[in-house]
């Protein structure tokens, strides 16, 4: 995918057995300049993924012939194509399992098109920049220089402990994407990833205290409840609209 040039249109594969959902996804993505292939079943999805080599897969979990997770597993066995999962509420455990199985992100049904497009933007940018990841990240007033291990907030240098920086680095290298608690713990405590999630929460609290203008209402390091954490991209940060009056 990295060999793709800017002028060619991107191809999206939409996998859902509901015609109306496929229809609006197709139209919505069409309007954004995607070429859309549709698949109704797991079988069709795999075939299309092989034949068309899409740049993006939008995958519904409830398919008539197989679980969406099966499709994801099969895809991941030979492809790194970005996958956004369509899930339903109250299935946090399932979301976590899918993210850990290689899904790039998820949206919860019912979802707004804008929400989905924002996620699409993030995963595509990431897949493009995967090879040549820029060491300098900017979100709002935050500048993170991964190469030089420097963090700057509103022009002032912030000092972080090595654990705090390690956490920030993992989130930054996956900027915009949600990372599950377990994925983060694996990175931070590789020797003991199964320890209490409390350690991660406390570490995150400290990191927020250093980086967030209001640590009680994070705008950079946001929580995906019961799933994990996400470092917002600039677009997500702007779309977040943290406009409500605070006191």
């Amino acid at each position: 995918m990295s060999e793709r040039t800017g002028s060619s249109t991107l191809e999206a594969l939409v996998v859902d057995d509901e015609p109306q959902i496929r229809r609006f996804l197709k139209t919505g993505l069409d309007l954004q300049g995607f070429r859309v292939t549709e698949a109704r079943t797991a079988r069709e999805a795999i075939d299309a993924a092989v034949m068309r080599a899409p740049d993006l897969v939008i995958l519904d979990l409830g398919l008539p012939d197989a679980d969406g997770a099966t499709v994801l597993a099969e895809l991941r066995s030979w492809s790194q194509v970005p996958v956004i999962v369509l899930s339903v509420r109250n299935t946090e455990a399932e979301k976590v399992a899918l993210l850990e199985a290689g899904a790039d992100d998820y949206v919860v049904k019912p979802f707004g098109m804008a929400e989905l497009l924002a996620r699409v933007g993030v995963v595509l940018r990431r897949s493009v920049s995967r090879a040549s990841s820029s060491p300098l990240l900017r979100v709002g007033g935050l500048v993170i220089d991964l190469a030089r291990r420097l963090v700057n907030r509103d022009g002032a240098v912030v000092s972080l402990s090595s654990k705090q920086f390690a956490l920030l680095r993992v989130l930054a290298t996956h900027q915009g994407m949600v990372l599950t608690h377990r994925q983060l713990m694996k990175e931070l405590w590789p020797q003991d990833p199964d320890q209490d999630v409390q350690y991660l929460r406390i570490l995150m609290k400290k990191l927020r205290n250093r980086l967030e203008p209001d640590p009680s209402r994070p705008i950079y390091l946001v929580t995906e409840l019961a799933v994990g954490y996400r470092l917002h991209t600039q677009e997500q940060f702007e779309a977040g609209g943290y406009a409500e009056a605070m006191a």
Partner: protein
């Protein structure tokens, strides 16, 4: 209990026993006659020296077969008859001294053997009786085991009891319409109305208050014994036994047998209760499975079209032709917003169904309470647009031990409730404070407030305050759900108000972690 059975067995007529005794004496006499005939035959063939030995035979046989009485009778009769064989032959009028000796010897033999035999026979009869009882109990037990409903157990008890007591007994149960009726099929004796009334009162009271058996004396001179029959703790039926006028003490075996029938009946009823409980549990499990499938499918069937509507409207809202006309754009956005609202309503109903069916299983974990609050504020942002959110958050909050998703939903409902019942532009205050053993999250509005009595009512299902009736619509389920979700997490939820017109505050308390990690960053 024993008194009861003593009463029951009084008055079993002994006539048949007297008749049997007479038959035995006749039998003994017949044996003596037989011995005499044999003696006469022998005497005809060859002269007899001593006939006394001959008459010993009926004595011995009678003693063995009929007991001491008939044996003594045989000895006396034999002594008399032996006169026939002493000279003068075939005359009973002359008594020889040897005959006295014979009489004494045969009497001794009769008494000794009779006593021995009587003892052996008594033991044998007892053994036979035991065997009969065991066989009867076995039959009763296997009948009971095969019985699959209460009525057939009642019927079995009545039949076996009737057989054991050798009289007609009746079992009364409370029928479906509350009327007392005889279990059909039992060999019920005719029963007066007064009896039915007494049984009615016996069935109406709990076992603890009444004796297990009661005696009922009717004015007409009739006497009945009423005995409870049923599962432990509650009588389902009453066994009624008419008492005879004549009286005789019942044997212990009979009492024991009658009681064992009753116990067996009660045990079987208990077992039936257990079987029923198992059946019900299986049924419930099956129902749970069905309900889960149903919830799943309802959830899917209702929410998929909503997702279609919402997504389609969202696409329309991004299309250039609509973007060019603000009125059309507004419509498209309206469809999207309404579809989202509909989805939340459906979710609420599904949540209530889940709560009602007990399918709510919180997944507790360590969570930063602020994460929950922020997440809820984000999720409710659209509906809080017309209000100012004033946050007051304490420093150094402990982690809480809850299911974050459920608590978030509860908090969203609180926020929506606050937005719904307070005027646009007013402030909604959200405060998060530590408590002694956790965290308190309060949502205060500047709405109509609550009367004292309403602080509890608002959590009741479908309750909406009268003063709120003219305001925004809603299912009235939000706070009910919030309460169940919070309490399911081991927390509490309470409403308070300074009074009508002064706004109201809803406060959630959440349990903290029992052991908070105090461990610092490893490298700090």
């Amino acid at each position: 209990m024993t008194d009861f059975w003593t009463d029951v067995f009084k008055g079993f007529g002994p006539t048949w026993r007297r008749r049997l005794a007479l038959v035995r004496y006749v039998g003994a006499g017949a044996l003596v006659c037989l011995a005499t005939a044999l003696g006469a035959a022998l005497a005809w063939l060859t002269p007899l020296d001593s006939v006394s030995a001959l008459y010993m035979l009926p004595v011995v046989v009678s003693a063995v077969r009929h007991g001491t009485g008939p044996a003594v009778f045989a000895a006396l009769l034999g002594a008399l008859m032996s006169s026939l064989f002493y000279p003068p032959l075939f005359s009973v009028l002359v008594v020889q001294p040897a005959q006295f000796v014979d009489l004494v010897v045969s009497l001794v033999v009769a008494l000794t053997i009779g006593r021995l035999t009587a003892r052996i026979r008594a033991e044998m009869l007892a053994a036979r009786e035991r065997e009969r009882q065991i066989r009867h109990l076995y039959r009763l037990g296997s009948d009971m085991a095969a019985a699959s409903d209460t009525n057939s157990i009642y019927r079995l008890v009545a039949d076996h009891m009737g057989e054991a007591l050798e009289r007609r007994v009746a079992i009364f149960v409370a029928g479906r319409d509350g009327r007392i009726e005889v279990v059909p099929g039992s060999t019920a004796p005719p029963h007066p109305d007064r009896l039915v009334e007494a049984i009615e009162s016996l069935l109406a009271t709990s076992s603890a208050e009444r004796e297990e058996t009661e005696r009922l004396q009717l004015p007409a001179g009739e006497s009945w014994l009423l005995c409870r029959l049923g599962e432990a703790g509650r009588a389902g039926a009453v066994l009624a036994v008419p008492l005879a006028q004549e009286s005789r003490e019942p044997s212990d075996e009979w009492v024991a047998q009658a009681r064992s029938i009753l116990n067996e009946g009660s045990r079987s009823l208990d077992r039936l209760g257990l079987t029923r409980a198992v059946k019900e549990r299986n049924l419930r499990r099956r129902t749970d499975e069905l309900r889960d499938i149903l919830l799943e499918s309802v959830s899917h069937e209702l929410r998929t079209p909503i997702a279609g509507i919402m997504g389609s409207a969202g696409v329309l809202a991004t299309a250039a032709p609509l973007r060019a006309d603000p009125r059309l754009l507004e419509l498209a956005q309206g469809i999207e917003a309404e579809a989202r609202r509909l989805d939340l309503r459906v979710q609420n109903l599904l949540d209530v169904t889940r709560i009602r069916s007990g399918a709510l299983l919180p997944r507790l974990e360590a969570v930063d309470p602020l994460d929950i609050v922020n997440s809820a504020l984000d999720a409710a942002r659209d509906r809080l647009r017309e209000h100012r959110i004033l946050r007051a958050v304490s420093e150094d909050l402990p982690l809480v031990h809850v299911d974050a998703v459920l608590v978030e939903q509860a908090l969203i409902n609180l926020l929506e409730n606050a937005a719904k019942f307070s005027p646009a532009g007013s402030a909604i205050r959200v405060s998060v404070k530590p408590t002694a053993d956790g965290v308190a999250i309060a949502v205060g509005d500047a709405g109509a407030g609550l009367d004292e009595g309403q602080t509890e009512q608002i959590f009741e299902r479908f309750y909406r305050g009268e003063r709120h009736a003219d305001l925004a619509g809603g299912s009235g389920l939000g706070l009910t759900i919030a309460r169940v979700f919070v309490e399911g997490n081991g927390g509490t939820i309470a409403a308070s108000s300074e009074g009508p017109g002064l706004g109201s505050t809803l406060c959630i308390t959440l349990p903290g972690l029992t052991e908070q990690l105090r461990k610092e960053d490893e490298d700090e």
